[in-house]
Structures are given as structure tokens and as C-alpha cells.
Symmetry: C2
Subunit: 369 residues, 2 copies
């Protein structure tokens, strides 16, 4: 493990460097071959994750962190978690001594991702953190540095990186099925109910680009396999009904990739926007929609065949996965990385890049992040 002076100074700034000792629990294989997860934050997405872990082959729920003891005890009973493995936000650092907990799942509002990832790393636990990774680039960098220093793994919850139909779309493109990719269009959004943390910039970091636009942005990266080098952005708020007092309602952007591929993206908190992407290539097209839902994602493609017998290839496939299968794949992947000491497909660096691009889009739009 190499820790740069810069890593140290970052951690120092967060009061970590002095206590940066590898955890005693690190690298001890779980007795039953299952990675034990402590879930931090018991909201909607945590429920998906816990059900997913229950269905997984290599993972189990072994701890909970919540501000609501009653709720936590109810859920603990459901998943067979002992009361002694329920923590509050204040005392969760004690999980360092809990050998049944190998990893945490950070399912908190965005603004808390950095703090709880770093505290978990300090407790010697591997971290699976929901996306967006953080609310700023510097937080993301500190999270990566902390996990590196503490020799724990960090994975960001890009569940679609593990979805067979999204992977099939990527493979078709890499195999050249639709020829040279020229342009990608995509969008994702919803009409947000008032009074939720997503609409509070202090908790969310920013508007819909953080929460749902990040899917569109990330997809344009995994579809091209490239990193964008040029950014435009534009924002607006139409509905002055109080929901958008701290952030914008709509964001649209363009990205340019090194190969020349252009991508447009849109996200909103003001309209139902079933997630989709369309990829236009010299030999055909490929699209997914719905693509960011928990189930029922659909892939369609239409491209030139390789033989005169099959002049066109037409694909129309809908995933038969039932929720929470996407989360199960994600959890199983991270657990496998923990068990086999491998690097996750979507490590902290992947989340950092999205934070850098989100920042670039907002800057292009003239918005302070």
C-alpha cells in the first residue's frame, strides 16, 4: 500500500492521520464464508439492500446503524441481528470491536456519505457506499484516501454495472455490433414530492443531477468506455412552489469524449422521466428504456448483420429480474471482492470521476457547487 503525502494531509485535515492504524479485524475471513454487513441508515434503499443480502449466497446482515432504536430493533429481529449489533450514529465507531461486521453499506443522505465512510474505514470495515459518492470532489478524494490508508475496500453502489442487460449493451458496443458510436442521448428524472432530503442542497449536495442524472452521466461513460473531456451545462427552475428553493429543478448537459462521441443528458425533479439511453452508431442503434428501474429493464438494438442471410439483427429483451436482484448482484460482487481480496468493478475512483464531471457540468452551467 502506498500512501502519498497528499493522502496524509487530507486525512490530517479530517483528524484521521494520527489514528491511522490498520484495523485488527481486517483480512480475517468470515467463519461461514459470508460477509457480514452493517447497514448505516434505514431508509428505502436500505430495505432493498437488506432484502437483497438475504437472497445472496455470500452475504448477511450483521449490524444496523440508525437514529431510531425502535425501528432498528424491529428490523434487527427480521434479519436476525442481535441487539448488541445495533448502533446509533453517535456510538457506531464501537463496531470496530464487532467481529461479525466485515463491511458497511452506507445508505444515508449524500452529505453524510463522506463522514460515515471514513468513520467506517477507521473502524476497519470495508465500505459499500451508495451513489453519488459524496457532495464534493474533495470529500470523494478523502474517502478514497481514508479507505486506502485503513486497507479497507471501497465500492460505490453502481448496481447497473452488475446488471446483465446493461452489460450486454456494453458488450454489443465493444464488439462493434452497431459500428462506430457517434452520439448518445439519455435522461432520468421524477416529479419529486416536497419535504424530502433530496430537495435540500445541504443534504443532497445539489439537484437532480446528483440523484438521478448521475445514472445518465455514468451510463454514457460505461457505454463508451471513455472519460469525457468537454462539458456544457444548463439549469432551470420552472416550478416556484418551494421545492426548489435551495437547488435547481432541471439540468441538461452535453459531454464530449476523446473519440469524438457526443452525449446529451437531462435530469429533473419536476417531471416523470422514465430513464432511457439511445446509442447511435454507424451500423445501427441500441437503446435501453426503462433502464434505471429496479426491474423490467429493456434492451432494444437494430444493426447490420454479418451475413446476407441476416441483413439486420433485431434485439428486444426485457429483464426477468425481480427486485432486489440488482442489489443482490451488487452485494455479491462486493462480498466476493472482500473474500478474495480483489478490487471492485466500481471502486471509489469510479465515484470520484462522476463527482468531477458533475462539478464540471454545474460549473459550465454557472452554478456554484
Amino acid at each position: 500500500m502506498r500512501i502519498s503525502r497528499r493522502d496524509f494531509s487530507r486525512l490530517g485535515a479530517m483528524g484521521l492521520a494520527a489514528r491511522a492504524l490498520p484495523s485488527s479485524s481486517f483480512a480475517e475471513a468470515p467463519g461461514d464464508g459470508k460477509v457480514g454487513y452493517c447497514v448505516i441508515g434505514l431508509g428505502v434503499i436500505a430495505d432493498h439492500f437488506m432484502r437483497a443480502v438475504q437472497q445472496s449466497s455470500n452475504s448477511k446482515i450483521t449490524g444496523l446503524v440508525s437514529g431510531h432504536r425502535d425501528k432498528a430493533e424491529r428490523i434487527a429481529a427480521q434479519y436476525g441481528v442481535p441487539k448488541s449489533s445495533i448502533y446509533s450514529y453517535e456510538d457506531m465507531d464501537k463496531m470496530r470491536e464487532n467481529k461479525t461486521i466485515d463491511a458497511v453499506y452506507v445508505a444515508l443522505p449524500n452529505s453524510m456519505h463522506a463522514e460515515y465512510t471514513i468513520r467506517s474505514a477507521k473502524a476497519g470495515k470495508h465500505v459499500l457506499c451508495e451513489k453519488p459518492m459524496s457532495t464534493t470532489v474533495s470529500e470523494a478524494e478523502a474517502m478514497i484516501a481514508a479507505c486506502k490508508l485503513m486497507q479497507v475496500k471501497l465500492m460505490i453502489g453502481y448496481r447497473l454495472h452488475y446488471d446483465p442487460l446493461n452489460l450486454k449493451a456494453i458488450k454489443l458496443i465493444r464488439d462493434g455490433a452497431i459500428g462506430t458510436v457517434e452520439t448518445i442521448n439519455g435522461a432520468f428524472g421524477f416529479n419529486a414530492k416536497p419535504n424530502q432530503w433530496r430537495l435540500n442542497k445541504a443534504l443532497a449536495g445539489g439537484g437532480s443531477l446528483f440523484d438521478v442524472g448521475i445514472y445518465v452521466l455514468n451510463a454514457s461513460r460505461y457505454l463508451t468506455g471513455e472519460e469525457p473531456v468537454k462539458f456544457t451545462g444548463v439549469v432551470s427552475t420552472i416550478d416556484h412552489d418551494g421545492r426548489f428553493d435551495t437547488m435547481e429543478e432541471n439540468v441538461s448537459w452535453t459531454l464530449k469524449f476523446p473519440s469524438g462521441v457526443l452525449a446529451t443528458g437531462s435530469s429533473t425533479y419536476g417531471a416523470q422521466m422514465s430513464g432511457y439511453f439511445k446509442v447511435f452508431g454507424s451500423k445501427g442503434n441500441l437503446e435501453m428504456g426503462p433502464v434505471y428501474d429496479y426491474s423490467g429493464v429493456r434492451l432494444r438494438a437494430n444493426y447490420e448483420g454479418n451475413s446476407p442471410d441476416a441483413p439486420r439483427v433485431v434485439i428486444d429483451e426485457t429483464s426477468q429480474d425481480q427486485d432486489p436482484a440488482q442489489f443482490t448482484r451488487e452485494a455479491e460482487h462486493f462480498s466476493e471482492c472482500v473474500l478474495k481480496n480483489q478490487t471492485p468493478t466500481s471502486p471509489g475512483e469510479e465515484g470520484l470521476r462522476d463527482m468531477q464531471y458533475i462539478q464540471a457540468i454545474y460549473r459550465a452551467a454557472g452554478v456554484n457547487m
Copy 2:
């Protein structure tokens, strides 16, 4: 008719002002109630138009302008045009004396639209000019000024302004069916064969934005009923196969409208991009695709109903029009304007606005127009 000093100086610069006398043929109603068209340029789109006129109730083909006399004579025989009403590009100004010609249809490469519109106006003929109206803003302004000065009508060939399904989409939006519109996405493009005038910037004015992107741009305007106030643009060329030596292959852009609606658009000459738009509103969505084809355009919408009995309204309608029905509607509209001395729905000013916005997009992308 009011002619500004600026109009005069523009026409003066084109050698027109001195000869700016109203044509003797102006305002004489055609004897049989049908407007006689002289078609300038006998390419693919002219063929659609001539077939369309033949099916129309109020229009007829009465003249041709072509550089290929043989081809022109063959087509003249087909449409019953006397040989005396066939002109070359050099002598077409003689049509001034031809009382059977009330209007012209300019179906030439973009760079020739201004010259032939102005020469036709000088000959006292009403002008229906294909889009894009011109290759520069100043050409478009000169075209409008010339037609105003010569008291002839000028319409730009936005055939979808007369398409019932596009009009239905607009009406649904105006009636508030999908609530407050937040975001619009769209694209249109094709994989261009080499060696055509479209790929020569001197003839086309620019890349795919002029030829096909203009549909996407124009649709975002007719869908919102607003004029964009903010522009971003990005261009790229991926296929260095000689086709894109004078212009870019791909363009993507964003527009911001005064209400706050954001629109993204893409066009390309490097991939088949079936034209589509998606409109996302607070109460539902509406999309068309294919939308810019000559037939088979399809409208889908899904939005909140007004009664508990009908919680959702779902529309899925495909046009039964056969080509060239769209051109027939366009021709009939212009002929009606000529016959009843009315202003067309898509006058020169409409084309000028698109030229201004195309220029703004290219400028934002750092491209010299």
C-alpha cells in the same frame, strides 16, 4: 408595405434596389383557382413536391428550372408543363413574363436559396423555399427584405407545421395535458453517403445541424411555443474518411427557453438516427418517433386524466398518411395564402429565427459559420 432604409441597403448590396419594382403579375388571381408553381432544382425533394402538387386541390406545376434540359423536358411532359415554361438557371428571370407561374418552389442546395429566392421575388413570384432558409443570417434577412419589397409572399418549407400528428402534439401541450413542460430531448440524423452537396460546406452552409438538426431545433420551438434564449453546442468528427473534410460530423446542443424549459438536441451524418422527440411534463409525457419521416409518424402520450374513472390517458397513434401527403398539405397552405392574400404559418421570419439559433449553437461550439 413599409421598407426600412436597412432593407434597401441590403437589397442595394445585392444589386436589387434599383430594380425594385412590383411585378406586373402580382396579385392577379389564377384563372382556374390553382396556384401555378415553377420548381427550381429537380432533385429528390422536388420530386416529392411535384407529386404532392399533383394531388392537391389548389396547386399545379406550371414551370421548371433546371441545368439539365433533357431531364426537365421529361418531367415537364409528365406534369403537362409546356417546353416554353422550362428555364435554365441563367434565363429563369424571364419567368417574370410568364403569367402561368404564380409562385416558385426553391429546392436547391442551401447556398443557392438566397440567390434564387431573391431572383424569383424580383420576377414577381411568391416563394416557397426549402429549409434551411439559407446558409447565413444575413442571407435570410436579405431574402425577407426582397420579398417584402417585391410584395411577394415568402414561406419556408416546414412541412411538419402542417402535419396533423405534430399539430396534435402541440395542442396537447398547449391544453396542459402533460402539465408544465420541463425538458425536451430530440435527435435526427443519418449515415451520409459520400460525394453529395450536403457534405460540402460551401453548398450546405454547415453540417447536419443545417439539414436534419434543424428539425429537432424547430420542434423544440413549436412544442414550447417559445424562442430559446441560451445556447450551448459541441461538435465532433469521428470518421476521417473524407466525408467530413469541410464540416463536422456530429453536433449536440442545449437550449434554454424563457419559461425555463431545457431542450437537448443531436444530429449526425455518421449514424442512422431515427428522428424523435420526448417531452417531459409535470403530469405526463409525450413523444413522437419516427417524427420527421415523410410517412408513418407516430405520437405516444401518457398523462394524468381528469377524472377518477380515467386516472391515466394513453395515446398511441400512427399517421396513415402516405407520402407525399405532408408536401400536399404544405403546398395547399401556401397556395391558400397566395389565393387569399394571407401570411403563411411558416413565413421567412420563422426560417430566419432558426438561422439565428443555428448560428448561436455553432458559435457556442466554437465553429465559424
